[in-house]
Assembly symmetry: C2
Homo-oligomer: 876 residues x 2
Amino acid sequence: MQKYVYMLQEGNKDMKDILGGKGANLAEMIKLGLPVPNGFTITTEACHSYYETNKELSDVIKDEIINALHKLENITGKKFGDAKNPLLVSVRSGAPVSMPGMMDTILNLGLNDDVANGLIAKTKNKRFVFDSYRRFIEMYADVVKGYSKSLFEKHIDEYKKEKNVTLDIELTEEDMENLTNDFKNIYYEVLHEEFPKDPIKQLLEAVKAVFRSWNNERAIYYRKINNISENIGTAVNIQEMVYGNLSKNSGTGVAFSRNPATGEKDLYGEYLMNAQGEDVVAGIRTPSPISKLKEEMPKIYNDFVKIAKNLEDHYKDMQDMEFTIENGKLYILQTRNGKRTAAAAIKIAVDLVNEGKISKKEAILRVEPEDLEMLLHDTFKEESLANGKIISKGIAASPGAAAGSIYFNAKDAIKAHQNGENVILVRLETSPEDIEGMHHANGLLTIRGGMTSHAAVVARGMGTCCISGCSNLVINEEEKWLKTASGLILKEKDQISLDGATGNVYLGLIETEPASINGDFQIFMNWADSFRHLKVRANADNPKDALQAKKFGAEGIGLCRTEHMFFEKERIFNFRKMIIADDLKTRQEALEKILPYQKEDFKKLFEIMSPNNVVIRYLDPPLHEFLPKTDDEITELAMSLNLSTAKIKERIDALKEFNPMMGHRGCRLAITYPEIAEMQTRAVIEAAIMAIKDGYKVVPEIMIPLVGSENELIYVKDIITKTASEIMKKNDLIIDYKVGTMIEIPRATLIADEIAKNADFFSFGTNDLTQMTYGFSRDDAEKFLKDYYQKNIFVKDPFAHVDEEGVGRLMKMAIQKGRGVNNKLSLGICGEHGGDPESIYFFHKIGLDYVSCSPYRVPIARLAAAKVAICEKMKK
Amino acid sequence: MQKYVYMLQEGNKDMKDILGGKGANLAEMIKLGLPVPNGFTITTEACHSYYETNKELSDVIKDEIINALHKLENITGKKFGDAKNPLLVSVRSGAPVSMPGMMDTILNLGLNDDVANGLIAKTKNKRFVFDSYRRFIEMYADVVKGYSKSLFEKHIDEYKKEKNVTLDIELTEEDMENLTNDFKNIYYEVLHEEFPKDPIKQLLEAVKAVFRSWNNERAIYYRKINNISENIGTAVNIQEMVYGNLSKNSGTGVAFSRNPATGEKDLYGEYLMNAQGEDVVAGIRTPSPISKLKEEMPKIYNDFVKIAKNLEDHYKDMQDMEFTIENGKLYILQTRNGKRTAAAAIKIAVDLVNEGKISKKEAILRVEPEDLEMLLHDTFKEESLANGKIISKGIAASPGAAAGSIYFNAKDAIKAHQNGENVILVRLETSPEDIEGMHHANGLLTIRGGMTSHAAVVARGMGTCCISGCSNLVINEEEKWLKTASGLILKEKDQISLDGATGNVYLGLIETEPASINGDFQIFMNWADSFRHLKVRANADNPKDALQAKKFGAEGIGLCRTEHMFFEKERIFNFRKMIIADDLKTRQEALEKILPYQKEDFKKLFEIMSPNNVVIRYLDPPLHEFLPKTDDEITELAMSLNLSTAKIKERIDALKEFNPMMGHRGCRLAITYPEIAEMQTRAVIEAAIMAIKDGYKVVPEIMIPLVGSENELIYVKDIITKTASEIMKKNDLIIDYKVGTMIEIPRATLIADEIAKNADFFSFGTNDLTQMTYGFSRDDAEKFLKDYYQKNIFVKDPFAHVDEEGVGRLMKMAIQKGRGVNNKLSLGICGEHGGDPESIYFFHKIGLDYVSCSPYRVPIARLAAAKVAICEKMKK
């Protein structure tokens, strides 16, 4: 029979799927004999059942919950709803995949007037009891009834004003009692019902609310950006309450077994005495560093150090732990493998190898390729930084460097980012509602909160630069200004720069520069390279990108989009002249003028990438993309070409297309205008000859785009080989060059055998292949795919992660057919999927030779390629 | 060793591939002992060699030609270039596939001054010799040198004016000699070289010119519209000249063994005494009917009748023969299976079966499905015809009825047709240069020429209505007017109507009506139906089309495009209201108003098609297609909706798409707006229930378009089944309905097994599937595909004939996967390929259950389905 509820004693760390991460680890800690508040876990399967039965708990589930509750009463010796010896519980979500802060929690559940009075009698602490009670009402109203906390908070503010106090701690036990009564009244007023007295009802409603919170907006958004399936659901953990706010001898904190920002091997964390956990996480009071606990409570500190080491050894990874001290007794509330910056992840992995705890392979598997992105973020240029004016300093909560205009709320930040601005989001403190805005910001700055505040945790997860706890700044979010200690006022759109590595805030924009790979990172990447089979090339259209790619370990260029070379002023002029031309002669003259530029560009790329290959894609976009759009631009072009505007407009009209994606582009251009392919061939081959004569090893790979039939390839290839032969003959030098094609049209995959007979290589253009296989263009699909995600029709974005079922099947077919007739065929991929780890795993499995991605994703691709190779070997 | 030249004695009728149709049949007639002028054939392989060796004849080929010439000299006892007993030859093209008039011919080759004098001595007919000589110069200049005949003709006109004569026959022998000399001078003047004296040089140049003519513009166009491969090439036939213009006892003619317009079993043809063949074909003089030859030359007539019967029995088909009488001796110059109207084809096929000459299967194979189109053309409505005013009567050269505006040249006709006009092309006589214009005309009217004139032959081939030899009309092509016998003047754009069945020309537009199937046609179609396995349905969106489809034998509706039902005034208003709506309620209200119309439409279709099924496709096009485009229309809509124009424009902007083909359409609409699918389901199910209650058998098939993933289908199907169940419950009637999907997105074919689990049927939408598989949109591709055909990159139009290699492979995959999980899956196709015979052959082979096509192509599809079934059986 299906079991929906597990006592903590019944679970273990491998049961995450049904107990959630939190529940499985609580159970594991019980097994290890650690001091964990007792309780039980309601499974993810109960969550599925809840959604299947019209958002109700079935009788079976209810019975199991009540049953588990009785067991917990037996274990704790307390009784739920009993005024004399009451059991209070926490109700916490816990999905199989960590989604910190995304779902809801209710603490102090089980309180009502009778229980409160009993508890006062027991604890002799009336203030604590009513503080807990009023918090419970507030949380219950928010989580179960969807009634915003802010109205309760507003009432407290008014109450404090009336009483002429500023801090919560100044409120007396009578104040707390009054507030509790006020809260009950507010609850009744807005919800037209009494606050529920029955603890069982409270519990069941809370469980349902947590299940419901699986589908709140921010959780959905979080899952979408983190690529988490909608279908896994959450578990709910019910535990006996322990109180960090019971006395001065109580407290609560979070700590990492190593530093999550740097990876240093040193207990790292924060705590607050006389506080509940939410006070630490919310960042409302600034906590003390864990090292201070050593002085304050040495025995507790030592116990905790031992437990931390124990847990790290057990999990063989850095742990992120929550603890509470209740009247001098230590409880562990949670442990999990800690989130960390990529730098820390790498240092920890390398250290664990050096400590003999894990193997190199395990080390590689420990780091998520995607997380490397944050290491590859820009840093400030030394010289620019030297002149920077520091206006504040906060906690270096998430590394990186960001410079941009400041905005004071998520909505403005999103809008500014969409307008192409670099955005620094500045907040008093962030909350889960801000998550979308944070995602659109280049950097985050908060006035309150520490290393484990919401802003800090989320920013590290996103790889966004963040400085938190910048408490010497004064902010007014409503009026949108910020004041520094020296009295400088900054308003919306003013520019600042953040150094996530030091916590320094600078006035104005400081120039950034790309990251580089060294130290532990270098060691780690070398290990990764030793395992992988897939080569990694970069998509680069200019020397700057090519150099960056090389620094990041690119083994050649997998895609050079030649059209990007046409956009400089002189070039675009001649290119437009070519497009407007009525006759072959004028076209050839214009192309003749572009030739030297293109040749020079190619030569530089060859030299930078030597001895690795460079894949050059011939002109791809439809010609109308190169023509001006506005009347002014058209007039300007007409004058410069000495033509009438009517003539230009006529040509623009003639080039208009109904569906440009499916129009006159790719090799179709070379078929209509062979002279373009001829010019590009001259540029490639002459540049290669020049570079070779200068002593470089160069193998250009000429790539013909958008091929859908054998004859298209043959036609364009004939132009190439004829032109190349003439040039080589003239230069009396035979060079090695390849001619291949992009596989980006569904039909190309179906006749890949015919194409492969005439091609040295295939490079899958998975962007277009995805669009055409699905039959939607990316630009247009964005609008309706929202509905698809919301209605669970699509789980993943096929433009981010290759569609293995559809597009992948076509790729496999193409590979099989292509290699079947040409076993020397080289196979690569140059769509955006080339930099996506999940897609790279697939590309490895289907036997590609290389992936090509943007320079900044090269290290990510290298690591992903290593991981899939290791996993494959482990399976064998 | 490769053999490039065959004496006629060496060939036979089965060697068409290398000897061409003409050459193979000449050889066959020699074998049958018929009087054929002797000669030899240069093969199509020599043609390929010519194109491969840079448009030159290789020495091997030249040697074989000279060698064959010597053999011909031996056979005839004459000598090439010999003044005393000269051999003159004809040089004629002859491809494996008949392309009448498309390539070039040279007659009288071998003449020079010496030979001419010798021939005068021999024939004692100076006028004949110089007439032949001047014609030879003219043809040679035209064909070999590309110098237009018209300048020579102009010179003759001037010469006649000077001499004050009107007809060629009034010219004396001196005149002919003068003209010959003038022609030689003109030749020298314009070409800067002497007219070649060496007969061998004349011959080799003529052969090359014929090979070259394979690639003249009109031949390429003819091949394109007739779907003939560019790669087969032509053979060249060299024969001893025989002369129909040698004496009054000479003549020339063409004849069919049965009537090519009606199929009547009666020798049918025309001849001219004292004329060369080109005079008959060109239609310059109006010839006599063949029956007159019986009186004029009874022996010759009887001989010819015997030969015609002999040939028809031998070929078991109606023959099209050319003959020449030289000084009272009959020669057969050509025989071939005669082109005929579809009506004749059917009558002949049915008659041949009844005469016991061929089987029913053979009869079916004799008729090209595509040719039936002409039988399905409109005829005049009786009542409208009764009031018609006849202004002229000509030869009923090609059946059908046409009404439209007159144009006097091909260019104007093409333009007018492209502007959407119905066009009647009126010419003195047509020439191959007119072919593209003829293709764009609804009807053809010529003043000169008979049943076998160029206009008549081509029009019958195209299935275009044609009246030829309307000699009581006077035309001025340059000034663009036409005068009737009664003096009525008609100018460009004036309207007339042509009855191709009677030869009557009417003033003004006469209403036409659709054709119907009866008589021999009915018998023939019944035979066809007895052989075929594929069912044939029709694409019909309204009762009128559905009725026509049923008359033509459609077995159900395979595609009803529901959006076509939204365009009527009241409906489009509510539909637009629905689109503009911001909220669900307004949308639902607007849909509620559309519901009754749609229900009524569906009910009518169900009743008409009962007991056959009707496939209803849910809303497919992007919503912006339904919104107005111009400012005026927008203002009107805004007023009628009581909204601001700004609001309307905002919505129009929001709906704009970059690539509408790949945008928000098909099932994607139903996912965003489930209420549309719900309304359409209500309309379908309620209409079906009403029709069933009225006693009709109805099985609606609901088709969800543009499905690319299983979840899309499931989502929309859920709406359908839920809605349908509610309605059936309310009406207390369970009806049989199907839910299926269009397979038109490449991805759908790849995951067809998943889709088939949830579908009762697949209907391949090969239009979109072709576009997405090739990655080009039809509208845009038109521009660049011209280059593709010209450069031989594409041989066939993939929108006309299904691409078996690419699209076909996806279809096969989908069928295999789909049937693999669902063996009851019904399979059809509703793209335009459903009416294309070549594609139908393929659809039969891959195992579809039915094709669906436009009502007018239903009989064509029925015949094609029969043919492929017969051929398949024959192979087994």
